[in-house]
Symmetry: C2
Subunit: 288 residues, 2 copies
């Protein structure tokens, strides 16, 4: 450990507590501009982000090291959010801070014909992180109760039971040693408009723009309803949702980094003991 394990003093409250979804919270009331629990401002972000990326990377290496010694635990980050909420930025700037060796990234777009021919959790199960790895879901099985519900891709009789199925699925993962960090990222309609407009101004951003994003934007109220149901019905003790306001990218990145650090610290890891006789190996090495 090269760093003390305390929460940085710029945080007044632990993000895992402060941002945890609580029954009764209404999606329509979420202030995407807010910076809950943080007493600093944007000028504090670059230095703090770099420091915390280093801490995150250390813990990730320890998780990986333990898996080599037989520990089967893993971590799964689930990112859900509307277009432009900043999921890609989290992958690049937060997850990107740790060793690619221990990361399994998967984006869940429109299902392929093969995926559609299976149960909706089939492609999700295939992408689960191996022991010692951090899995990153850029969108996830929650698409099957979000876009699927909003666009009526299947009838209510099909998506309705999925909330319970997802809870059972996640309980199974947690029992098997996967810590799940679920993050719902919220950007305001105004901020989304600015971000989409920026993509239309810059030729190096055109590829991120999809005319369908505007169609989704028009369905905002239906999405709010679907997000509300998701939070109300799938935020469990073993896999709670966290609400992250994302109008300020620097804040959402800091907050999600802390959520990951806190989850890894919760595993109470130390470096694995050697499975060989250290002194005997030193002698062997000296001789060759």
């Amino acid at each position: 450990m090269t760093e003390p394990d305390a929460l940085p003093s710029l945080w007044s409250h632990e993000p895992r507590v402060q941002l945890r979804f609580r029954a009764g919270v209404k999606v329509a009331d979420i202030d995407a501009d807010a910076t809950p629990g943080f007493r600093g401002d944007k000028s504090d972000a670059p230095t703090l982000q770099a420091e915390r990326n280093t801490r995150f990377a250390e813990l990730q290496e320890m998780l990986y090291a333990n898996s080599r010694a037989g520990d089967t635990r893993s971590l799964l980050l689930v990112l859900q959010g509307m277009d432009t909420a900043g999921k890609g930025g989290i992958v690049k700037h937060v997850v990107g801070g740790c060793n690619p060796q221990g990361v399994q990234y998967r984006s869940f777009g429109k299902p392929t014909a093969e995926e559609l021919s299976h149960h909706y959790l089939w492609r999700v199960r295939k992408a689960l992180p191996a022991a010692g790895h951090i899995g990153v879901f850029d969108r996830s099985h929650y698409e099957d109760v979000l876009i699927v519900r909003v666009h009526n891709l299947v009838p209510p009789g099909v998506w309705e039971p999925r909330y319970d199925e997802i809870n059972a699925f996640e309980r199974e993962l947690v029992s098997a040693g996967t810590t799940i960090v679920k993050v719902a990222m919220f950007v305001s309609l105004d901020e989304q408009k600015k971000r989409l407009a920026e993509r239309l101004e810059r030729p190096d951003k055109y590829w991120k723009y999809n005319p369908g994003d505007i169609d989704e934007r028009l369905k905002w109220p239906a999405y709010q309803q679907a997000y509300q149901a998701m939070l109300d019905r799938t935020s469990t003790d073993y896999a709670p949702w966290h609400i992250v306001p994302c109008n300020r990218k620097w804040y959402s990145r800091l907050a999600i980094t802390e959520l990951l650090i806190e989850a890894l610290k919760g595993l109470n890891m130390s470096w694995p003991p050697p499975d060989f006789d250290v002194e005997a190996e030193k002698k062997r090495l000296a001789a060759v």
Copy 2:
């Protein structure tokens, strides 16, 4: 492009030319302490590495962006080297500089029972990078003519034809649009001893130590012979090997970063044009 596209002036020669394996080069003569083509020293490395990581990340994003517009090209980095040569450090410090979204990492350890029940290229084909991705092989199909040959895991009649098979396999990949960057990393026996000793001194490094590393070390002459055959027989015009001296980690990281940048520049990419009417979309967005 936020950076001029010239080779940094600290390089006297392009690494892809300087480090390319040439017929007649003997593995036994490789100076692992050397820093070919580089006129700077260790003190120049941190700043230059950070700058070039940024350039590499930009080009990686462009490769990824083009794949979203239908470009099927990809890049495959093949890392081969003895224990402690620094393969893991390249993954962490070089590949780690770009967006995990576009990277597919795969380490090839001892084959599983299922893998052994297939052709040796089966597991390799499954790990090939998708369009727009950078695949990273930490060890690779070359294990099947290195450790397999040195340890007599299959008879010569089985491994002998593999050199030609591998060439045919790689030709197929290149024809299909994958640029292959093959890097043979060389560390000296003395430096390897130091690095193994360090792992035995630090409890946070024990997990990287394997008593089998010493057994491999004792087979150094046989490995040199196997590496020589690999270079002599599989360095092709379409997928040449590069020899990277690795006693100085800062050098090997800078060199491999340049090899990747040069390979990506060779794809002559630009940002993909929009597949929508930009002005029409601006109007649509303004209205919602």
